[in-house]
Point group: none
Chain length 197, copies 4
DNA sequence: GATGAATGAGGCTTCATTCAT
DNA sequence: CATGAATGAAGCCTCATTCAT
């Protein structure tokens, strides 16, 4: 077969965590969608939380790859930041990425084991890191306004989190919302004319 | 007694929904913390979702009052927007507001009844409305850059959502994070010098 | 009804723990025999171990009462010791006492919580205490040979444990086994003629 | 390697049955401790009960050998009985004998197949037999009081069972407990002076 | 002989909700 | 209005056993 049962399980879990959220995603649902026995989940992943961790990490890993790949080819810092944001938002609405796993479930609420949360936090920090690097590039090449890189990266990621939630969870997002959000970011980091950077 | 049993129940529910999230908050926990019988919850509120709705609406109502009160006394549009954001963030970290109810629980995941969700959405729209008005003021009095009000309001609210989640749910928020976020907003809506509005 | 559902539950549990042992006694079996819903067990007793603890303590309490009552009316120390042993053995083969709960289940293997085990140990020590007192009486009135009371009490209780297990668990116990065991005890504590006590 | 995989499996099983009891000893634990695959257990032993039977019989076989060897060299019946008891107790606290298999697990509760239980009973009877022979020796050579051999053997074995359980399972056993138990047996079978045997 | 993925029945426990008092 | 015993469906997880490799 194309997928091993373990892979089928992980894929079904990613789909369902993204569709139903953590608590509404039951072992039974996952097993049925994957077409395997329920017991196979604990056999391969230990427990529900560890299964979720595996799902989340896989999504984050793919996400991180995309972000790095994108920013690497940006011509300057400002472009890298905006490309980062665009890649973030594109990734978030591509169904094949299973991004919803990280929106519908919350590592901070659903994972009770601190150790598991720490593993995931580490990955999140790498994602921040890519943006921090882009901002530093922008500071070096003068393409953006003078800001503190870590603070600003955290704010921009927070903005991505917010607009993404608004878009995929609520009915408020107007047409062209993502594009406007990029403009918003751009305005916030564009060097002010006639002011020394 | 100072509180009726119904009020005690609602307060205990708000505390626990904010501390534990929707699913981890059980009728038994609420009844114990409120010091009343379990049966009183369905008696007064019907079911868990309706109880949550009552909690959420009360928090939103207080929130809305604070936002309106704040922006009403701002000298101009720009100030109104920034005051709105500041009030949002202040409210979100004041434990007595039970804001966490809206962070730890998600109306979009935890409420299964569409009708209930609609009621809550309506309130959220009023909150957007206050910011839309502030932006329109800013466009009128020229204190901000020319932007589309609904889009921009949605983006700024999204940013508030994002920075708030980062601050209260994750370990990433640096010192002075909220202040920097306000600066970020300000830069994004400040009129560009030498450019016609 | 004659029994409350809680009492019915406890009685069914005592019966089944004694018949089937700890692990083979399932919530389902107990609920069915008691004629109540499964959920009522955790509602009233918390969990399986706590339910078992309640069963064991009730049996021990009755046992202790019988032992005290019996030894109180013995004419001297020697008689008290033998009456104690006889009461022990009689109690152990009276089906209405649910003694088997303590034979088929082991507080030391089946109870995982140390605190629960300690509670039960305390009760066991009271049972030892009754025999220790009887032995001290025998030492005082010269009706038994000179021995160390705690050691001897522990040995005699151990003998009771052993002969009881042999009788109720194995096919080895010959006719008149319990009577012979009493004789054995008697010989072991009878003062040696012509030897100063 | 020193041990075949089958032997490693049996040794791991003996260790774990003694440490954890029957139900808490899982195939997975055994396989992990032995460092072999789970499937090998049913391959070599059929099922869990048969594996337990193999463990128990091996322990009993070693035990029986030790008892026979010991009593064979005792100078008279009384000595043989006391040597038997001492050997029993020594064996029971020697970790290398895996005696705990027979204490933490119960052939009478854990083995559901009657045929398996019968096999084990047979071995237990041989153990009784060794003591019966010793008692008969004592009756013949006049070194012990006149008693019925089978009854007395069963009682003494029961006492060993009891004191052993007290020592290895409970916190009650005082220092010198085993020595006192031997004295207790000795007093119970010592010929009464001035009384015809 | 050896492996470990795979199964699926069944265990304990949780919990929103009902209802007699 | 108030209580809490009672319900029972459903959740996660365990585990002996099977079987293809």
């Amino acid at each position: 077969m194309a997928l091993t049962k373990k892979e089928a399980l992980l894929q079904a879990a990613k789909d369902l965590f993204g569709e139903c959220g953590y608590n509404e995603t039951t072992f039974k649902k996952i097993a049925e969608r994957a077409g395997v026995a329920m017991g196979l989940m604990t056999h391969h992943f230990g427990n529900k939380e560890k299964l979720f961790l595996a799902c989340g990490l896989e999504v984050l890993e793919n996400f991180l790859g995309k972000l790095r790949e994108t920013t690497a080819q940006s011509p300057n810092g400002m472009a890298a930041i905006l490309d980062y944001c665009k890649a973030y938002l594109d990734f978030s609405i591509d169904p094949s990425t299973n991004w919803l796993v990280l929106v519908r479930c919350s590592p901070y609420s659903d994972m009770k084991t601190t150790a598991d949360r720490d593993i995931m936090n580490e990955k999140f920090l790498e994602i921040h890191g890519v943006l921090i690097d882009a901002i530093k590039r922008g500071l070096d090449d003068g393409s953006i306004v003078k800001v503190e890189p870590v603070q600003t990266a955290t704010i921009i990621v927070s903005l991505m989190v917010g607009v993404n939630r608004t878009r995929v969870l609520t009915p408020y997002a107007p047409d062209g919302f993502y594009e406007q959000a990029l403009e918003f970011v751009k305005r916030a980091i564009t060097p002010v004319p006639g002011q020394a950077s």
